[in-house]
Amino acid sequence: MADHSVEELAPTPGDRATRFLKRADVKQTTLFFIFWTALFVVLGIYFYPKWMPTIMSVEMKSAEKIMIWFTVISAPIAGFVLAVATTAFMNRHRGDTPPPDGPAIRTNGPVVAVWTVTSLVFALVAIIWGLTEMNGQAVAAAKDAKSAITIEVRGSQWVWTFNYPAQGIETHELNLPIGVPVIFDVKSADVNHSFWPVQLGVKVDANAQVTTVIHTTPDKLGPIDVKCAELCGLYHAYMETTGEIQSASDFDAWVTAQGGHKA
């Protein structure tokens, strides 16, 4: 990466590359590069799936995938930066007087160019990935709209209320049938809240007077948590409830028990 060849006599490019790779600090940097890159890859792959709650929708899956893969993709870049820094750290100078001057490298055109293009490519990958996922979710939502059940979500200080218009019930727990697309029409009775059915991986603010919409399709049976993700005053922390993703028959039974009817 540096113009290490100041003292050399017209070496061939091959010679230069060989000498470069044989330099102690280059070897050191390469080792640290492998170490840090591997570490970031392992951290991303190990921790996020371990930490994140059960994945119960495509949206949640895509959030987790992005967290893992973006870590993996950025690992070599992070690895390189940290490798150079670690090598410098290992070759540190102690004492009360400054070290002797190093080589006067003002810049290095090719290095700056390669670096800039690399980060551009990296940014493009992230952008295209994100846009593709967003587009996929939007297309799925449009396709599923006809078969979807609609739930009117109302946030108020500090309760969530769910109205199932087709079923004619209103509850404070969010039960949903598995495999059926669901549209949440979200509104607030007072200040801003943010509707967050955690395991479904979607979220939208609840505002007064305007309805905001999100959709998802639960694809796994089991309990879910519903939280408020926008500071909404005194008991914001306690503005949470639970629900369950149920089989079609369980869901119908639950609706009936709530005094509603089959849609």
Partner: protein, 628 residues
Amino acid sequence: MSTLDKAHTSSRPVPNPKRSLITRLHMGTGVVVGIIFAALVYWALKNSLLTYTDKVADPLSPHDNNIVLLGAMFAWSIGFMAGIGAFIGPWRWLIGKDLTDEEILYLAGDGQGTKRYFKYCTDHKVVGIQYLVGVMTLLGVGGTMAMMIRTNLARPGGHFITATVYNSLVGLHGITMIIAMIIVATGPFGNYVMPIMIGAYDMAFPRLNALSWWVLFTAIPVLCSAWFLGGIPTGWTAYAPLSIQAGPGMNAFIATIIIFAVSTAVAGANITTTVIAMRTKGMKWNRVPIFVIGSTISVALAIPAFPTFMVSMIMTALDRTYNTGFFDANMGGSGWLYSNLFWIMGHPEVYVILIPGVAALMEIVPVFVRKPLFSYNAAIMGFAGIAGLSILVWAHHMYMAGWAPSLNGPFMVTTEMISIPTGLLFLVLIGTMWRGKPWMKLPMLSVFAFIWDFMIGGITGIYLSDVPADSYLHGSMFVTAHFHFTLMGAALTGAIGGLAYWYPKMTGRMLHERAGYISFWMVQIGFNVLFFGMFMAGAEGQPRRVVDYAALFRNSNLISTIGAYSVGTGMIILLWAVIHSWTKGKIAPMNPWGAKTLEWTVPYPVPLTNFDELPVITSDPYGYGKGK
């Protein structure tokens, strides 16, 4: 300037303009006049707003109470500025008799010792020290609040403090730290060191310099009063309509932001003008030290950003006093309007904070590695690119607001583009280190910590900028951990590096090294443990700003709290080192690090006009190294 030019001879009597009011005013008179004026306004407004029936029955309505409180707070600020003498100059100028040379010299504070730190002093070095003390105070207050927050969150169901107190702490910690971080580098170093670095006698507008500090000073008691007025329930973002619903403490928040915005506008105009107009002979743009470039870009970015914040606060105040309904959907207004105004300020603001910290480290690396700064141009492109893009990314804070979902795509594009100029900053730092042997002193240690912390902050920022991932992470502890990595891990680490680096020039003494090292490791290790726990809590699904949490989040929160105590202890050690070394530290040589920038060519104490004769510059300050 000409007066100061002539004035610079070392042993002359302290100027003593006879019978000038200026000599009798100081912080104390400011406080007295401020309190009297605030009390008068309070009394007058209260009595004029009380109707006959109210007088008999009840105190003021909440709206009227807001008017009274806001009036009193602004009156305090204006009264203080009058009492310290800020308006004498403009008044004299108005009636056609500007300050005399003697009075101008007196204001510069030469030969007045410690007293001048409590006066309306125009010397940029005095203002720099005032900012340093102000920053440390704010960081101390904000840090104490953080400790209380973490203590409450140490275990689920903990009731160390009530929900009301907790929410207030979250908001006050946030705004205190944001204010502290905005001024953390440009305040102390931008004022004390920067004019010397560019070879200037002083700032372009010395009196505005004093104004910017003392106006900021008046905001501190106002902010503290929030605590006694029932706190703020909104977090530092002060989202409407919660802010409209909030109690009297909210007025203190509003007044603080408006006063602070005035201070930053004045400081920003002053710093940019100084750098544009007062560079010494030969200091072409490509020879300006990188810290100066970074600070200038940072304050230039703040100049358009903060007025937006100020406007949003004026509108919030109007909603709370005269029921204007700007942000109230029930009256035809929109909470989204507020969020937009807020983040149009809020996103540039994080780069206003970050850039000077990075720039300080870029000043440090060449000195300690004894190599030229790698690609000065890349550094400038990095700063300029970040500043330019940062005004186009604000709505990434609103992906999940439901406002204009079709804009999420475009905002994701601009946001992720920021990784390109950010990458350049990393390149400059590691490029400078390449093949070097860094001199392991305190300032240099901060560079390594910065690289690690900013790397984590950057990578986690990429997930958050991506809409599908943000739809899970938004509003969770993950976000809190991410921005602490950028603002604290990166920017504050940069500023602490800057402090260790410039401390000898600002105090004439070396910072206590051993205490510095102990503090560094306690803070950095504690910090990483603290926010590792918080990433974990966020990924597990814990919302941010919650006073309590489910048992599921027990381990992650305990990890965070343990880390927090290590950070707190480390910071106390640093504070001790700074205070102790100020009077008892080893006497610093003129240029302890062997640096080539101009501030190291002047002795301590730095003479009033910095230089006997302005230096002439023939190269940039990075001419280290063998070979060229």
